[in-house]
């Protein structure tokens, strides 16, 4: 009887472990956007994918400070920030946190923007408006577990 119990415990633990693995880094998302409304909106959309802990930063400098202290799995970076261009600072940020997946966000869907983002090391590009479907495709592409 005891051995049976052990087996069941082990399998439960591996299941938990698997679940943990599949949700790796879900709590570590950073959104860099100077518009608090859109920032909140993106965060609320991400929560639908059971991503809970989301950090905000208004500028790339602030983001770098945060990243030095904490590891983020996923970073959303807006191009048009107040007084600076997110794309230009992307390489600098990748240097600070090379393991993070950077996704560039823009209201301009021009291909040049997107291509440049990918060239500078982004793992994805997403144009506003944000939608669940876009995020779903993005998270699937980046192999990050989504809801369900």
């Amino acid at each position: 009887v005891e051995t049976k119990k052990e087996v069941s415990i082990v399998s439960k633990e591996t299941l938990k472990q698997q679940k943990k693995d599949s949700q790796l880094g879900l709590e570590d998302v950073l959104i860099i956007d100077d518009d608090p409304l859109l920032r909140d909106f993106l965060a609320s959309l991400l929560r639908k994918f059971s991503i809970q802990s989301i950090t905000h930063a208004g500028s790339t400098n602030r983001a770098c400070e945060l990243m030095e202290r904490q590891h983020f799995q996923l970073v959303f970076l807006d191009i048009q920030l107040k007084n600076e261009n997110g794309l230009e600072n992307l390489p600098k940020m990748i240097k600070v946190s090379p393991d993070s997946d950077f996704v560039v966000v823009s209201a301009l869907s021009s291909i040049e923007n997107a291509q440049m983002a990918m060239q500078r090391g982004a793992r994805g590009f997403i144009a506003k408006p944000f939608t669940i479907k876009k995020l779903e495709g993005l998270l699937n592409t980046l192999n990050i577990a989504t809801r369900g």
């Binding site: 209201a107 869907s109 997107a114 590009f125 144009a127 506003k128 669940i132 876009k134 779903e136």
Partner: protein
């Protein structure tokens, strides 16, 4: 054998097997490979052509030399001149015989050779006593014969005839001494050498001729192919030029305004008719080219026989009825409910055969019998038309092989259809045959290999299934937001009208670049993307879209449906492909696959949660209202750059919260500001007014 000690095998040199081998190889040595009767004749001609110059040369030299010697002998040695004159005369006789072709060159040469040998023996031995020259001279003569390669038989014959004659001369003249015996011995030896040499040489010549024949055949074939090709090209250009002339002619007269208004419609109809004809012609030509290059691949898929026939009758029945013909499909049960077949190609064959039937039938009916007789699936297309007489029966399966130019003129068509259909039937493991009686009608029979999926069942009735499929095809209605990317305006118009009629909301893009930019902004349920487009082609566009992390379903629209290419499309990121020109059933299948899930799925709003979204909208409007004063200030100060920045910010969030009118206006303002257009002030004022009038309540 294997148990025998090795010494037993090696002890005798000519063991039985060795002996057999020797006999065998000597047999092959003495036997020649013979060609067919015609080629044997050709071989002799070939040999003769090569031998002739050598004969000629030898004869000339022999004659001239003798002539010279004869003249000299008058001066030195009057005694010899009689013999020389005789020799020269006989040479002259031989040459005349040869030139007048009374005697073949072989005979002339052989007689000349024998004569020379006899004369030489007589002259050298009996007249001037120089027997030492006899053997080398005769060997030289025989070598000349060998070089001319007239064949082993003749060489051997002459090779032996000469020593016999020489021996006879010596015996008759009683000159049997050691010297003549040596001469004879050497000549007999020479005869054997000549025989072997001639046999080897004939083997060589025959091998050479064989190569020559093969080369010639290859060249002949090449010439024939070339001829067929140029004939094909010639008739093709003619076929293409005819409808093209009509199209250009009608278009020209419409343009030049010299056409009465009531005629224009019929002219346009003619243009369309000729254009359609041209398209089918080009399609046929492409098919022929593909077939000839072996590039057609059949895509076998599970297909209902009844649905397929339904589709065929949708296309063909109206055509038959328009001519007042009855159109009857006669299923001969039991039939399999599902088959594995390249449905497009089978349909192509049937449409072609039925189309022909309708074309050549004035009254009566067109019947299609369908029966399954394992391992065959059989379609008989029976018409009561003009029929095909036996004279033309051979031609009809050839490309451009319509019975006559007159028929082409009267009935139209390219004559490629039957050729293609037959080849396709062959590819399907079967054949296309026909029986016909002039003025009674024709029956075309397609037999193809019956392949069925494991789930197949034999069925006794077709009604229900066909009816269901039929309904499905007719009532196809979908909902969804679809993007269509195609660079050709006509294609966009055509495909979009089909898609709109099915109830879809449509956006259009002219190239891959535009498609990506639209797809990044809007969540489409489905994207149809042409492959060949300027600026950025479909393949690039899809792989870029995927690299950005966008997983919208993309269907490739393309005329290339070869397996290899389809594979490429799928690996580039396309979800599916659809052949061009669009065929309704395939389109419906694709839409069913990717849009039917849509109905069960929640919309963006529902997905997100209505209440929460409303809160965000409220916050957005509040923010906007709060920033109104700042905006107005900027307008008064005419701060174009800053206004542009503001407009950009508003646009991004307005779209997110579904205030499309605000987003649209903000985008116009942004553009105007960045372009420095003076109307930016009025646009900004409009925007302010719009924001003032917008509240979440009015929006919803």
């Amino acid at each position: 054998m294997d148990n025998a000690p090795p010494s037993a095998r090696t002890s005798s040199f000519l063991s039985r097997s060795r002996w057999a081998w020797l006999v065998q190889s000597s047999k092959t040595f003495f036997q020649f490979e013979h060609f067919s009767e015609l080629n044997e004749k050709r071989y002799h001609q070939f040999v003769y052509q090569q031998a002739f110059p050598i004969f000629r040369f030898t004869l000339c030299m022999g004659g001239l030399f003798t002539l010279l010697l004869t003249i000299m002998s008058f001066v030195n040695d009057a005694q010899m001149s009689t013999a020389r004159i005789l020799y020269a005369l006989s040479w002259l006789l031989l040459v005349v015989l040869g030139l007048t072709r009374l005697v073949s060159m072989y005979w002339v040469f052989s007689i000349y050779l024998v004569l020379s040998a006899v004369f030489f023996v007589y002259y050298r031995y009996f007249q001037i006593d120089q027997p030492i020259y006899i053997v080398p001279t005769i060997v030289l003569l025989l070598m000349g014969l060998l070089v001319a390669r007239p064949g082993a038989k003749l060489c051997t014959f002459l090779g032996f005839l000469i020593p016999i004659l020489v021996s006879a001369i010596f015996v008759i003249s009683g000159e049997l001494n050691p010297l003549t015996a040596h001469i004879q011995l050497m000549l007999w030896f020479t005869a054997f050498v000549v025989m072997f040499a001639a046999i080897i040489s004939e083997h060589g010549t025959r091998a050479m001729f064989k190569n020559h024949l093969q080369l010639q055949q290859a060249r002949q074939k090449e010439l024939e192919v070339g001829k067929a090709k140029s004939e094909f090209l010639a008739s093709m250009s003619h076929e293409i030029r005819t409808p093209l002339t009509a199209v250009i002619g009608y278009a020209q007269s419409i343009l030049e305004d010299d056409m009465p208004a009531d005629k224009i419609e019929s002219a346009v109809q003619r243009i369309k008719y000729n254009g359609d004809h041209l398209l089918s012609l080009v399609n046929d030509i492409l098919d022929v080219a593909k077939i000839e290059q072996g590039k057609i691949e059949l895509l076998e898929e599970e297909t209902s026989l009844f649905t397929l026939m339904q589709e065929v009758s949708y296309i063909m029945e109206p055509l038959a009825n328009r001519k007042g013909l009855q159109f009857v499909i006669d299923f001969q049960f039991p039939l399999p409910d599902k088959i594995l077949i390249d449905r497009m190609r089978l349909r192509q064959i049937l449409v072609n055969l039925i189309g022909n039937g309708i074309k050549f039938t004035e009254k009566g009916d067109i019947r299609i019998h369908i029966s399954a007789d394992e391992p065959w699936l059989r379609f008989d297309v029976i018409d009561s038309g003009i029929g095909i007489d036996s004279l033309n029966a051979q031609k009809i399966f050839k490309s451009f092989g319509q019975a006559s130019a007159e028929i082409t003129h009267q009935f139209g068509g390219t004559g490629l259809g039957l050729h293609i259909s037959k080849k396709l039937a062959n590819l399907m493991g079967g054949d296309l045959t026909f029986t016909s009686k002039a003025k009674v009608g024709s029956t075309f029979t397609v037999m193809i290999e019956l392949k069925t999926p494991p789930s197949m069942q034999w069925t006794q009735h077709a009604e229900q299934q066909a009816h269901q499929d039929d309904k499905r095809l007719l009532q196809a209605a979908f909902s969804g937001h679809v993007l269509l990317a195609d660079d050709v305006e006509d294609n966009r118009l055509l495909i979009s009208s089909i898609l709109r009629r099915m109830g879809l909301t449509l956006d259009l893009a002219e190239n891959g670049r535009e498609a990506i930019e639209k797809a990044l902004i809007t969540d489409y349920d489905l994207i149809f993307m042409d492959i060949q487009m300027p600026e950025m082609d479909g393949m690039q566009a899809v792989s870029q879209l995927r690299s950005f992390g966008n997983l919208t379903t993309v269907v490739a629209l393309t005329a290339n449906v070869m397996k290899q290419e389809v594979k490429q499309y799928l690996s580039a990121g396309f979800n599916a492909h659809l052949g061009k020109p669009i065929d309704r059933p395939s389109l419906i299948r694709v839409l069913e696959r990717y849009l039917s899930q849509q109905q069960g799925e929640l919309s963006e709003h529902e997905l997100y949660g209505q209440q929460e979204f409303l809160q965000f909208q409220q916050r957005f409007i509040n923010n906007l209202h709060n920033s109104l004063n700042e905006l107005k200030q900027l307008i008064i100060q005419r701060e174009m750059v800053e206004l542009g920045n503001q407009a950009h910010a508003i646009r991004g969030s307005a779209a997110s919260f579904e205030f499309t009118d605000i987003a649209e206006l903000a985008m116009q303002l942004e553009k105007a500001c960045s372009a420095g257009e003076p109307q930016f002030i009025s646009l900004a004022n409009k925007l302010v007014k719009l924001i003032e009038n917008t509240s979440t309540d009015s929006h919803n």
